[in-house]
């Protein structure tokens, strides 16, 4: 009697298990398919741009290139570099990213470090002074007025100076340095190290993970920045790649002129089918702008994640 009940129970349980596994398989299948679809929607546009830039421009403009590249050639990338102003824009974008990132990381790291030093004059006050700017700003037009009065319009420094101190980065660095045992710094100071020596020789090497995080954040911000060019720069010598791309998309007729200008007396003989079109130029410039991000991004993804989680804890 007792035995049979036990057996019955077992079989019932087994049945339940097998049923739930079946349901689970169906659920897992649809769940994974669903995420495959979302991922596809996120990635396909970039892939589409890419295959079209390396495909026969004539086929591409007739919408024949969707999944696989056809008539592969790389002249688009060579031709686009000959467009007037594009090379210069690339140099501006690269230099603002390089200089801006170095200064931002240095400034935010140093300030974050100083805010961990209890002896600093009015430490709490100055810390709040910096952090409040994250939540409050005077508005874009007043900001523009000041930039104008400071002669920072049509000035490369306008890309760099306002970005040096970013309160969010300062908070991240400060929080991180606070987790480093104070004894390390104290012993170095007793050995005669000054503030800057401690910062460079001890604090910076110990805070590599957070410095990597803010480096990537700062570089992406600089590379993607668009509004500052729009407001402050009328001199085309200071246009960035982002801004040039925007202009290419909105001034189709002038883009056609630029293309004609770059092809006159061209030594790169492109076949008729691979002649530049406004579409090919737009897509190629877009690819040039995306590529650095796609290249560094998978490597730094974990830093991004760490950064946002640390920020969340604090925020």
């Amino acid at each position: 009697m007792a035995e049979s009940i036990l057996i019955k129970k077992k079989t019932k349980k087994e049945k339940e298990n097998s049923r739930s596994t079946k349901g689970e398989i169906v659920f897992n299948f649809f769940n994974m398919a669903f995420f495959a679809l979302i991922t596809f929607i996120c990635i396909f546009p970039f892939y589409y741009l890419f295959v079209n830039t390396i495909s026969n421009n004539d086929l591409s403009s007739r919408g024949m290139v969707i999944f696989l590249p056809k008539g592969i050639h790389f002249t688009n990338y060579l031709q686009v570099l000959r467009l007037e102003g594009l090379g210069r824009a690339a140099i501006i974008s690269l230099s603002r990213t390089l200089i801006g990132t170095i200064l931002t990381v240095f400034g935010c790291a140093l300030l974050g470090f100083i805010f961990t030093q209890k002896q600093m004059w009015g430490r709490k006050f100055w810390y709040r002074f910096v952090v409040i700017t994250m939540y409050f700003n005077a508005g874009i037009i007043p900001w523009f007025i000041i930039m104008m009065n400071l002669k920072l319009t049509n000035n490369f420094l306008a890309y760099i100076l306002p970005a040096v101190i970013q309160p969010f980065f300062v908070i991240l660095v400060k929080t991180y340095i606070e987790s480093i045992p104070a004894a390390i710094q104290e012993s170095a100071e007793l050995d005669g190290a000054g503030t800057m020596t401690v910062f460079f020789k001890i604090i910076m090497p110990l805070s590599k993970p957070i410095l990597a995080t803010i480096t990537v954040f700062a570089a992406v911000n600089q590379w993607n920045s668009f509004i500052d060019t729009l407001f402050l720069m009328t001199d085309s010598k200071l246009y960035t790649l982002q801004f040039v791309l925007y202009r290419y998309m909105n001034q189709l007729s002038s883009l056609a002129n630029i293309i004609r200008g770059s092809q006159g007396g061209s030594s790169i003989s492109a076949s008729i089918a691979n002649m530049q079109t406004p579409t090919s130029v737009r897509m190629t410039v877009s690819m040039i702008i995306i590529t650095p991000i796609i290249l560094v991004y998978p490597i730094f993804q974990r830093f991004f994640v760490k950064g946002i989680i640390m920020g969340a804890v604090k925020g």
Partner: protein
């Protein structure tokens, strides 16, 4: 590590008998630290506090080219004109409606990243999860100009992918220009924003889910709770506090939708529904040269956002006993 701290303690004790000297050294050190920080604090002052001086332009009838000192002082005329001038009232109301509608859609869609995180966690294969996570966060790191370029490649009339496919399938005869259209402008702006930020916003919730005690799930399993009941009774409550903080921050930013996205997507056809406050300020101030009125709107916006922030903070304190700033 312990060695280091020991020696530090010892040396500290050596210094102890001279407290006056130590105090002086401390003062000097404090000043020195302050001086190192000073250049950076000046930068913060110049770029974040000095613009407050620009508010004074809201009280003048300023025209670019003429210095402020020679402009006519008009007091609160620009502020009054928002209410007293019917055309301006209508304009501001239209812009406010766009701003609030797009922000409201943003609040509604804020549950999507939560759902994304919950269902992604249900996938067992960690390699699959990682690939999905990496690829879906990518759009967050490209600029709005590039998003627009992507939109152009897919939705434009002549060379857009969608139009090519639809005409080839015979669904439509002539190309439809999805970008130069004023249908569902708010919704499409919201959807572009979701496309760009979904994977990134989910990261926070994914992290929060890993912090939930696994024993809770084990216990629920033993009690016979199925997958969905476990999600509903354990995961969802476990995410509520994170969701709540982010929601309050979103409310604090209700009228700050930024202008980059709307600027790149705007055109003559959708302008009526895409102009949010920030974009409107740009359009009237920088393009329309009504500088002083734009400054007045800018100023009001900043003040209202501060109130919203305090409100959100207060709500957080009442409901959670913790402030968000």
């Amino acid at each position: 590590m312990s060695l280091l701290s020991n020696s530090a303690v010892e040396k500290n004790m050596d210094l102890a008998p001279a407290p006056l000297k130590k105090e002086k050294v401390k003062m000097k050190k404090g000043l020195q630290l302050f001086l190192i920080a000073l250049p950076f604090l000046i930068l913060v002052f110049v770029f974040s506090y000095l613009p407050l001086y620009g508010w004074s332009y809201a009280f003048f009838n300023f025209r670019p080219g003429i210095p402020l000192s020679q402009s006519e002082f008009v007091g609160f005329q620009w502020f009054k004109s928002i209410i007293s001038n019917p055309t301006q009232t209508a304009e501001v109301m239209r812009v406010m409606k766009n701003t609030l509608a797009i922000s409201a859609l943003g609040v509604i869609t804020s549950v999507l990243p939560v759902t994304f995180a919950i269902f992604l966690t249900e996938i067992k294969a960690s390699w699959y999860k990682r690939i999905v996570q990496v690829l879906t966060t990518l759009p967050n790191f490209i600029s709005w100009v590039l998003v627009y370029s992507v939109a152009f490649a897919i939705f434009s009339t002549n060379n857009g992918l969608l139009n090519h496919v639809l005409t080839d399938l015979g669904i439509i005869d002539t190309g439809v220009n999805y970008l130069a259209s004023d249908n569902h402008t708010w919704l499409s702006m919201c959807m572009w924003n979701v496309w760009k930020t979904l994977g990134w916003s989910a990261i926070m919730y994914l992290a929060a889910i890993t912090n939930i005690d696994p024993e809770l799930y084990e216990a629920a399993k033993v009690d016979g709770a199925g997958r969905f009941r476990r999600i509903w009774h354990i995961t969802v409550p476990g995410l509520m506090s994170t969701y709540f903080v982010l929601l309050l921050l979103q409310i604090a930013n209700f009228i700050n939708n930024g202008m980059e996205q709307y600027y790149v997507f705007q055109n003559a056809i959708n302008k009526d529904h895409i102009e949010v406050l920030d974009l409107y300020v740009y359009n009237i101030g920088m393009l329309g040269t009504n500088f002083s009125f734009a400054t007045a709107i800018s100023m009001l916006k900043s003040i209202v956002s501060v109130f919203l922030l305090f409100f959100a903070n207060k709500m957080s304190k009442i409901l959670r006993g913790e402030s968000i700033i």
